[in-house]
Every structure is written in C-alpha cells, then in structure tokens.
C-alpha cells in the first residue's frame, strides 16, 4: 500500500494532495499543467520537502512531519524517470546504467539491457542518442538502482508519436514482467488508458478523484478534468475472436462485442478499449446496409449540456447486472431532432477504424475496481 498525504506551499500555489493506492500496477497522476503533478512526485522522491504530511510505502515511512522523519532521496529507494531524461553527459550509457547499482537488486544488468533493447549503444555518450533511446536508458538506470517504486514524470512528453509508440510497450513490460509498482505522471489520456490501472485526478494541487481508469473516465462530472476533446468512455473487455482474414479482432464485454482492427494478443486477454465520445453516433433504431460494424443497443442515462452546439450523452450499453458506460457526443440539433431524453432506448454506432492501437490497452496483472476516495 502506498500512502501519500502531503501539503506544501509554493508561492501562490498550494499542494495539498492525499491518496492511497495499491503497491502494484501503474497508478496514473493526471491533471493539466500546473496541477501539481511534478511537485507531488518530487515530494515522494524526497526532492521537495512537504510542509506537512506523511509518505509511506508499505511499512516504511519515508516522510512524516509528525514523527520528524524525512529520509533523504538517496535512502528512499525510489527510482525516478524524469521528463528530460537527465542522463549524466560525462558518463557512457553503461556508466549511467550502473551508477545506481550499488543498491543491488532483483533485476540484473543484462536483463534490463535486454528488456529495454539498449545493448547496442552501451559504449555511447548520451548526446549521441535519440530522444527515445535516452528515455529507455533513463528507465534502465532507474530500474537498476533497485527501487521499490518507480516514478515516471511524463517520460514520453518530449517524444513524437512514433517514439512514444516505441516506448509504451517497454513500460507495459515493466508492469507485467518486473511487477514493479509505478506512479506515472501524464497529461495524455491515451497513455493512461493504455497503461494505468488506477487513476488519480489532480486539479489545482488537490486530488479531485481516485479510482479505476474505467470508472473515472465514464463520469460526466469529471469531464472538465479528464479532458473535453479527448473525452470518452473506457470499456473493459477481453479478446474473444481473431479474424485474420479481415484483419479484425473481436472484444467481448458484458452486453456485446466490439470489433476493432486486429490486436495481436492471445484469446481471453483482458483489455481496455477507449471509445471517444466524438466517434459515437446515435440512432433510434439499428440501421441496415451501413458500413459501421459496432452497433450497440443501450439506454440513455444522462445528457450533459455542452456549451455551444454539442451535447454529451451518457449511455448504458451493458446488462442490468453489469452496466457498461459509453458516451456519445452529438450536436444539440440532432439531440433535439431525435428527442433524446434520459431513460430512452437508443442504438450507438461506432466505426471500428476509430479504435486504433492507441485506444487499446492491455490490463495490468492485477486490478481493483474500488471507487472514489
């Protein structure tokens, strides 16, 4: 169990964040810039001293203002992957990796080098590496210091989309193969959907909500925090069928199946699928002769007025026993024209091609569905 409760004043800004999370899997800290994400992870790492509070990992207290405990960063055993890498420019990649190896750990040098695919540039200097390579070395360096918790502060923020796609699988492997707990800071919802089990929403230095990624992203009231343009629901499903001929996969969830472009995962693998609200259309009856492969029958739960010409409609497309939330963003004119109202049965249409690989995440080894703080 990781327990964080810190207060710190930084000029006009006040960080007062409190949450607990499992000491396993990936916990995402999400919030817009200036919400205190980096200050919070710096406090966990021991680089920023809270005015008040407690930081505890398992049985060990790293910081407690009450008990006057404040372990220096070098004794916290917390790995930190910085946004800007921070590789030592005067050391080779190999020396960077071994810098923290005085704390011998469960993972060996060769295993980490293998896992991150960095064997062929061990002799180089950091300045000879590309951005993606640098971040892989930074991850390896942090891992080799034998941390009990890994902090990753927007490790992909400085990379372009192809590089991100290159690194994300490595982060998944840390989670699935090394089973190291990770606190992952990001303001990109697609990374979080793909990686995280637990989501901590930060806003103006405070924790606005804690819960599973699926439960928080489906809540209309958190929409201002989870993002408007990228808004959408996250559905937990499992790989049910592969259609190699058409290059499609089917994912089963309570209440139906989603057809998506082929994902290369074994049958039964639990996955998260994010369906953006703007990719969902509504109809009163299932249309015939249409190219759309995903047609779900559901019921309107709530309609939220967006400013301007759009409304966000929250639907339930699951079964009575297992509700599944989906959002549709439609024009206010369509909503009026169809006479949409809460409780009404509707049909949701989702193009399969709208669900690309960035919208699909493999679930972590373990997860919990508890709601709220």
């Amino acid at each position: 169990m990781i327990e964080i409760a810190v207060e710190r004043r930084l000029g006009d800004f006040r960080l007062a964040a409190e949450f607990t999370t499992e000491a396993a899997g990936i916990t995402a800290l999400f919030g817009r810039s200036g919400s205190g994400k980096t200050s919070l992870v710096n406090a966990i790492a021991g680089l920023l001293r809270p005015d008040r509070g407690t930081i505890r990992i398992g049985d060990e207290i790293l910081f407690s203002s009450e008990r006057r405990i404040d372990l220096p960063p070098e004794r916290r055993r917390i790995g930190y992957v910085f946004q800007d890498g921070r590789l030592f420019p005067h050391l080779s990649v190999r020396s960077n990796l071994t810098y923290g190896m005085r704390r011998r750990g469960a993972v060996g040098f060769d295993a980490v080098v293998d896992l991150l695919g960095i064997a062929h540039f061990l002799a180089r200097r950091p300045r000879e590496l590309s951005g993606g390579e640098k971040q892989r070395v930074a991850i390896g360096r942090a891992l080799l210091s034998n941390p009990r918790l890994l902090l990753m502060d927007e490790p992909l923020a400085s990379l372009d989309a192809p590089r991100k796609a290159q690194i994300l699988p490595f982060v998944e492997r840390l989670r699935d193969e090394l089973k190291i707990p990770i606190v992952y800071v990001s303001h990109a919802m697609d990374e979080i959907i793909r990686l995280a089990d637990t989501l901590v929403l930060l806003s103006e230095g405070r924790v606005a909500a804690v819960g599973s990624v699926a439960s928080l992203t489906s809540r209309l009231d958190l929409r201002p925090l989870t993002g408007r343009y990228e808004a959408g629901a996250v559905i937990q499903a499992a790989v049910a069928r592969q259609d190699a001929g058409d290059g499609l996969s089917e994912l089963a969830f309570p209440g139906g199946r989603i057809v998506v472009p082929r994902v290369d995962l074994p049958h039964g693998t639990p996955v998260r699928a994010r369906i953006r609200a703007r990719d969902v259309s509504l109809a009163l009856a299932a249309p015939e002769d249409i190219s759309i492969l995903n047609i779900f029958a559901g019921r309107i739960v709530e309609i939220a007025d967006e400013a301007g010409a759009q409304v966000d409609v929250s639907l339930d497309i699951g079964t009575p026993a297992a509700p599944v939330a989906l959002w549709a963003r439609v024009t206010a004119r369509s909503a009026r024209h169809l006479g949409l109202a809460p409780g009404m049965p509707v049909v949701a249409l989702v193009k399969a091609v709208a669900l690309d690989r960035t919208s699909l995440g493999r679930l972590g080894s373990q997860r919990s569905d508890e709601e709220e703080e």
Partner: protein
C-alpha cells in the same frame, strides 16, 4: 640563444611561485565557489566582497596588508615565528601567498560560473539513484565543473606569474628568493644599460603566458569531449 643563469633563476622562481600558489589556492577556491554558488548563509555578501577586494584594491595595499598580518612582526606572522619558528616574510613562499591572494577572485569567479551552469537536476537524479551528497559532488558536480575549474586555474596561474605590486611590497626584491620575472624586469629597467636584458625577460614572459593558454585550451577540449559536450569552436 641560451638563457643566462639569472634568467633561468627568475623563470624557475616564477614558475615555482605560480604553480604553488595555484595548487594551494585551488581546493580553497573550489570550496568557496561551492559555498557561494550553492549555500545561503548570513554574511554571504560580505564574504563575497572580501574575496573580490584584491580585484579592486591597489596591489600595494594588499601587499601591505599581508605584511601587517604575516610579516615577521605581523599579527599572525609574529605568532607563527614564535610558535613554529617559520616565517614567509622575504621568502618565495611569501611571494606565492601574495600572488595567490591576488589571483583568488579570478579563480573563484571562474569556478562559480561553471557551478552555476550545472543542471541541478542531474544532481537530484544522482541522489534518487542512491548517491549521498559527497558522492554526488565527486561524481557529478566536479566532473561537470572541470572545464571551469581548469579555466580558473590557468587564469590564476597566469595572474600569479605576473603578480608584481603585492609581491614586491610584501616580500621585497631579493634575487633568487623573491625576484620573479616581473620584478626582475622592473629591476633591469631601473638599471642603466638593462634594456636589452629586460626585453629578453619580457619575451620569456610572453612565451610563458602563451604556453599556459595553449595548454589550457588543449585540456579544455579534451575535458569537453570527455564530459560529452560538443568541442567548443574557437
């Protein structure tokens, strides 16, 4: 054209004074620069001011102050002589102290600038990797500050070799003991018919200074390569 024994004497004395003053002031210079760059303490501005005084005071004043403090009858000097029987007055060691004091602000400034330029994030990263303050200082801070330390050392060396006013005031002009290159040049210009000899010593001074600069440039490029920066273009 060979050097005369007198020229060799002045040259080796100058080198000895320059090398010793630089070597001895370097650790102190690094410590002071680190304190000024990284720590806040009461009286920091005062310390900073005192260190920079030799840069703005007439060298004669510094020399006289040293005489008052460290001379045989000086405040500290008398005690040193009484307790240990040592004195630096009218000795080459005194010349090294005088030139070290005069060069100290240049040394501290160069090192402090390079410390200020170091990304503190790298030091923070090292600590999250389990390195304590001392290890961070030795393995991250010092290597990254190396170019600035080298530049400061060369500057201090050149300043020491060229020191005149404070040295002649403090330890006078004793052939073979405190008559360094500049003092020898000055003596020759005061002697009838000494112009040619003075010119020869002047050329030696220029060669010495150029050699110091070239060596430091060479080392700076090697260090820059080692710490992973692109070699600076001249």
């Amino acid at each position: 054209m060979g050097l005369t024994p007198l020229e060799i004497e002045a040259l080796t004395l100058s080198l000895r004074v320059g090398v010793w003053s630089t070597i001895c002031s370097l650790p102190l210079g690094i410590a002071v620069a680190f304190l000024l760059a990284r720590r806040d303490f009461p009286g920091k501005q005062l310390v900073n001011g005192i260190i920079h005084l030799p840069l703005v005071l007439p060298p004669v004043v510094v020399g006289y102050a040293l005489l008052v403090l460290l001379g045989r009858n000086g405040i500290i000097g008398a005690w040193m002589y009484a307790s240990f029987g040592v004195t630096v007055a009218f000795k080459w060691q005194g010349a090294a102290i005088a030139s070290g004091v005069m060069a100290f602000p240049l040394l501290v400034r160069a090192i402090r600038l390079s410390l200020d330029a170091i990304d503190r994030g790298l030091e923070a990263a090292a600590r999250t990797l389990g390195a304590g303050r001392l290890r961070v200082f030795c393995t991250v801070t010092m290597p990254l500050a190396a170019p600035g330390i080298l530049a400061g050392a060369v500057l201090a060396f050149a300043r020491s070799v060229g020191e005149f006013g404070a040295t002649i005031t403090f330890v006078s002009n004793i052939p073979g003991e405190t008559r360094t290159l500049p003092i020898a040049i000055y003596s020759l210009t005061q002697t009838p018919g000494g112009d040619a000899a003075a010119l020869r010593l002047t050329i030696i001074s220029v060669v010495l200074a150029m050699a110091a600069l070239l060596i430091s440039e060479f080392l700076a490029q090697r260090i820059a390569r080692r710490i992973g920066q692109a070699p600076a273009t001249a």
